[in-house]
Amino acid sequence: MRIAIMGAGGLGGYYGAMLAHGGESVAFIARGEHLRALQRDGLHMESAHVGDFHLPQVDATDDPAAIGSVDVVLMGVKAYDLEAASEAIRPLLGPDTFVVPLLNGVDMAERIGAVLGPERVLGGTVFLSCNVIAPGRLRHVFNGPFVFGELAGGLSDRAGALEATLRAAGVNAEQSPDIRRDLWRKFIMVAALAGVSGATRIPTRAVMADPDTRALFEGALREGEALARASGVSLEDDVVARHLAFADGVSPQHTVSMLLDLRVGRRLELDVFQGTIVRLGERLGVPTPIHRVLYAALKPHVNGPPA
């Protein structure tokens, strides 16, 4: 399979590295220092799960037109770059090329589809953690699955082919017959935890330990659940209880990226989480008061610390 990785950060870099390591034809689209390091010295992977390896030569560029058409594009850019990145990958599209987002959020595939056509996209969500620790160097820290599937539901040949290719390369990958449910199930958890941990500036375990912050988190989960159901997604009846149990079980160091971003003054993924929930709630008539205050509380930091 010929695969392009648009946005070769932690996640894009991981899947591209694994596929290239497994002998697939992979092109990375990256920028800046990271791109120069990839071109000069290839890609270094540190992983306790799949073992360390070094790819001395990788195909890396900042110009999609130099790559030609591919079978699959894995979209690893940040949500706020999504429309521009979708435009930029047009030169990669052949008649059957499809795109799979690796981003957080419930409407990423729809947003890509709005630019390139809905038939071009699968839904996708990633339960894996891999960070760029230095230009050209990745550290893989958590090996959850990459789940993807047709937005209309059901299994498809193209998703099956991607699943087979990823698995042959040693990737934890899974075609889902109901990707929207998988997306929403993860989204309500990640959005609630990002918002509450961000607004309170305390890590996950502390949020769960105090009854007031825990109630805030549970309320945020319930708003997400109501929104998923109003969107026609059939979540399990006990989805909130399961998410609470998951958050109770995380390690004491567990810190969501929203809180890490706040601590160092980076741009926030607020629009992906609270912004989307508030907008969808308004459209569907579902009240989301907790996510609304989380949104307001974090908004002054959305582009970095306020003056």
Binding site: A199, T200, R201, I202, A206, D210, D212, T213, A215, L216, P289, I290, R292, V293, L294, Y295, A296, A297, L298, K299, P300, H301, P305, P306, A307
Partner: protein
């Protein structure tokens, strides 16, 4: 008048300094570096239009040697009230008036409960003051209102006696027949200012400009007003508008003390303000979702960072 200032911070030193400067018999109960500075250097009061030094200053860390006073100005932080009660007991004799100027609505009740039989008034001040270093207090801008009276009911002769002393020292003091209303009106302002600026990490200007954070501010004001009403305290019908009008003329870079304390890792007056609104809201069945959110968001940082 023999006056003891219990809580030799910025507010206590400002009013105590004016009173001592006017020739009243003022003793400051202080500790540590503040006590050492007051004893060695006296008390320096800096204002826009004047500066003066009171020297020598009566200052002690042993309230038993200072009492009983005719008037005790209680000017600690709200969260220190319990811990200064023994000192207060030592300062109070049969004829002593206690005038608390603490944030929150129940300081006078708490003092009266702890010291049965003591003569307790209710009071508050809007004056901004800070302590640039031990022994020095700075009061920027014009003097703001200092309002006091009986905890319940109209002003009495003992209030008039205190008023004459305060006015004689150039303090912009006034009495009120409805102190509960005055305390709740101030709580509306400081809970919204402090709470919204602290949870957003932003000074007041941007908070009031952005529609989302402004909505948070207005909702917090309304909730405080609703809880006051449920507690039998009718605020002015335009109390929220009045608070907003007050904020409109506040310089945009103003950082409420709750925000400054949060950033400096100092304890917050959260229990006296938002904690009280949440508790009373629950008792009276008044929903206060925004204040509950502010309380939860700040609660785990309200104790300050360990030194």
């Amino acid at each position: 008048m023999r006056i003891a200032v219990l809580g030799a911070g910025a507010i206590g030193c400002f009013y105590g300094g004016l009173l001592a400067h006017a020739g009243e018999d003022v003793v400051f109960i202080a500790r540590g570096r503040q006590l050492a500075a007051l004893r060695a250097e006296g008390l320096e009061v800096l204002r826009d239009e004047e500066r003066f030094t009171v020297r020598p200053v009566q200052a002690t860390d042993d309230p038993a040697t200072a009492g009983p006073a005719e008037l005790v100005l209680l000017t600690t932080k709200a969260y220190h009230l319990e811990s200064v009660l023994p000192a207060l007991r030592a300062l109070v004799g049969p004829g002593t008036l206690v005038l608390p100027l603490l944030n929150g609505v129940d300081a006078a009740e708490r003092v009266a409960q702890a010291l049965p039989g003591a003569q307790v008034l209710a009071g508050l001040t809007y004056v901004p003051a800070n302590r640039p270093r031990p022994g020095v207090v700075h009061q920027p801008g014009p003097q703001r209102r200092f309002i006091f009276g009986e905890v319940r009911g109209p002003v009495t002769e003992r209030c008039q006696r205190v008023l004459a002393v305060l006015r004689g020292a150039g303090i912009r003091a006034e009495t009120s027949d409805v102190m509960a209303r005055e305390l709740w009106s101030k709580l509306m302002l400081v809970a919204a200012n402090g709470g919204v600026c602290a949870v957003t990490g932003s000074p007041i200007g941007p908070v009031m400009t952005d529609p989302d954070t402004r909505a948070l501010y207005v909702a917090c004001c309304r909730e405080v007003g609703a809880v006051a009403a449920a507690c039998g305290v009718a605020l002015e019908p335009d109390a929220v508008a009045h608070t907003l009008a007050h904020v409109e003329v506040t310089p945009g870079e103003m950082r409420p003390s709750m925000l400054q304390d949060l950033e400096a890792g100092h304890p917050l007056e959260l229990e006296a303000m938002h904690g009280t609104v949440v508790r009373l809201g629950r008792e009276h069945g008044v929903p206060v979702p925004i204040t509950t959110f502010i309380y939860a968001a700040l609660k785990l940082r309200a104790g300050g960072r360990p030194a």
